[in-house]
């Protein structure tokens, strides 16, 4: 199976995805998201959600501990900066490897159980890592302060190649290009495109088919004499590597790593991104990550003054009431919106935004003959028996 051997539709999807990613600064400007810090977040959390989806979307194993891999990736990247070089490439390579190793360890144990037990085991491991990062592992993680760069770091490779950062605190750079602002976004964007390509190949491969079979009926797979655990473990490790990579990129754009990235609410956030976009679809998780990060950014920036302006056309009493009601949901209250969104999506649109789009498309396509098989380029057949 060569790399070129890909369906025409998939090529279109991939090229479209790459084009949107590369043109993101232009595309997202009209909605006020065309600035690098936010775009970097889109790309990074897009990678995180893509990887999570390979596990949850394909195999149905709901992990509540993926933030642990993200945190480990961040720590690894910062340590690589400190020890080897400020170049982001070794940092993200090590972050991916360590994320993979760590997930291999946790996955090996957790995958002995399925269903809710699996969720609780991963949750337990993530909480354990989080607690340890705050207590015993302080020499490695620097506890509550978070791991930071220091001027006196050895940076062996940089020294060997004669790079001297002088008396300022270095920031990460790719052969002289500073990894902040747009260059930082393009670095993350290119990694996202590569990750998307890999995910696409996994989705279309026999291996991906096997993972879907695990989701739809694991018992039947076992009865046919097939051991499903290696497949699930591979999916777990791949998604752990994606998470480690995303964590590494977080450190590339902002060389700092803290334990709060490993908290279980962070794991909950990636679950939300995936189901918001549509678990089991290719594009869904990336869209979900983008939507959540976008609204997080917009909503938490709102304050009463902005709200007052927004409702300025209303009579004064009504204006005050509306401001009071909506200020519950924005600014500090952004988490309330997030939780409510979580519930609404699970209740009304379990297939996420992608399913919503598909429904809309079917609605319009109905007069001309209903849904064809080609309509759902990246949709997964619904599991027959999810319980």
């Amino acid at each position: 199976m060569s790399l070129i051997d890909m369906h025409k539709k998939d090529w279109l999807l991939f090229i479209g995805f790459a084009a949107v990613t590369l043109l993101a600064p232009i595309i997202f400007t009209p909605i006020g998201a065309g600035y690098p810090d936010l775009l970097q977040k889109f790309a990074i959390y897009g990678i995180f959600a893509l990887g999570f989806n390979i596990l949850f979307g394909l195999t149905g194993y709901l992990s509540f501990g993926h933030a642990a891999f993200l945190g480990v990736g961040s720590y690894t990247a910062v340590w690589t900066f400190k020890m080897l070089s400020m170049n982001p490439i070794p940092a993200i390579i090590f972050a991916t490897i360590v994320g993979g190793l760590f997930s291999a360890l946790i996955g090996f144990i957790s995958l002995r159980r399925t269903g809710i037990y699996f969720s609780i085991l991963t949750l337990a491991f993530a909480q354990m890592s989080y607690n340890m990062a705050y207590s015993v592992l302080t020499p490695i993680t620097n506890g509550e302060t978070g791991l930071q760069l220091a001027q006196s770091d050895p940076r062996v490779l940089d020294v060997a190649f004669g790079r001297d950062y002088g008396a300022v605190l270095p920031s990460s750079d790719l052969f002289g290009i500073d990894m902040t602002g747009y260059p930082g976004f393009y670095f993350c964007g290119v990694v996202l495109i590569i990750c998307f390509f890999i995910a696409l190949r996994i989705f279309r491969s026999p291996f991906g088919m096997m993972l879907r079979a695990v989701k739809s009926n694991q018992n039947r797979m076992n009865y046919t004499g097939l051991n499903t655990r290696p497949y699930a473990l591979t999916a777990f490790i791949i998604s752990g590597m994606y998470a480690g990579l995303a964590g590494g990129l977080l450190a590339v754009t902002d060389p700092l790593a803290g334990a709060e990235r490993m908290q279980w609410t962070a794991s909950g956030e990636v679950v939300l991104m995936t189901i918001l976009g549509g678990a089991g679809t290719l594009l869904g998780p990336v869209i979900g990550a983008g939507v959540i990060k976008y609204f997080e950014n917009i909503f938490s920036a709102f304050n009463e003054t902005i709200l007052m302006q927004a409702y300025s056309m209303l009579p004064e009493t009504l204006q005050h009431i509306m401001v009071n009601v909506s200020s519950l949901f924005v600014g500090e209250g952004w988490h309330l919106t997030l939780g409510a969104l979580f519930m609404l999506i699970v209740i009304f649109l379990p297939g996420g935004l992608m399913e919503g789009l598909k429904r809309l498309r079917n609605l319009f396509a109905k007069p001309s003959g209903g849904e064809g098989p080609g309509n759902s380029a990246d949709a997964v057949p619904q599991p027959a028996n999810p319980a």
Partner: protein, 342 residues
Amino acid sequence: MDAILLQVLNGLDKGGAYALIALGLTIIFGTLGVVNFAHGALFMLGAFCAVSIKAILSLDLVTLDPTKTTAWGTPLEIRQPYVEAWFGDFGTTLLEYSVPVSILIAIPVMLLLGIIMERGLIRYFYKRPHADQILVTFGLAIVLQEIIKSIFGANPIPQPAPETMQGMIDFGIAIGFDAGNVVYPMWRLIYFLFSLVIIGLVFAFLQFTTFGMVVRAGMADRETVGLLGIDIDRRFTIVFGIAAVVAGLAGVMYTPILSPDYHMGMDFLVLSFVVVVVGGMGSLGGAVLSGFLLGILQSFASMNEVKDILPGIDQIIIYLIAVAILLIRPRGLMGRKGVMEN
């Protein structure tokens, strides 16, 4: 020996809280088959019942006393809580005992909340996959805690225990140790006894009443009970309410030990799930046993002697035990066959 006893005692109050929350989780899981991630939020809501009742009781009447002046020359404000103004000494006592009094009010409030939650949301999720149940209740938990945060703020609100119950008890004397060796805060002991009483009541309710019998039958085989013409759904709704009450009461009584804040529910929830899994999904006895067991083990792990040998063990002991139990005894300590095997 007395050091060991002291650690056992230390673990009992926390273990009591774990046991009560885990008991409610297990009841809900066993009857409704729902994994309720919002159960920690119910614990937190119970604690905030106590906070609001204290706040309501201490609403005060402000009168100006023209005979005295403050340093600024304005008449001195005299603040007197309404309950004291209206009921005199009884009012003072009421205010003093606000935490125990809250129990009486928390019971109907939590029952109502539980029933609303079940009728309004959870019942639509009986037939959905466990992943969906986890996700929707997780969302609900976030919503509940954010609402509490917007009302009460993000800081912990201390709730004092009644003065007569604040002291220390020299527990050692009662069982023959020298004085001063096993001294223990009285409220924690009360909490432990309280949790035992609640656990006893729940078990008695399930064991000795007809209602409880039907519920137990429903846990064993829901379909057959339904075929016998019993409206099992309505009973399960009440069971959900009872589980909410148990979690709420655990929260009310815990407020003097830990000043409640909006995320206390989440902190306890993760641990309570671990407790349920260790005890065995669907086993009520297992939940209680493992609740106390893990509470005690955690307090042993926090001993300095243990921490010297294994640094950081107090942070992770519960999770380590959970991992070990799930690998060695996948059904948990007292798990029944056929419950959540997949």
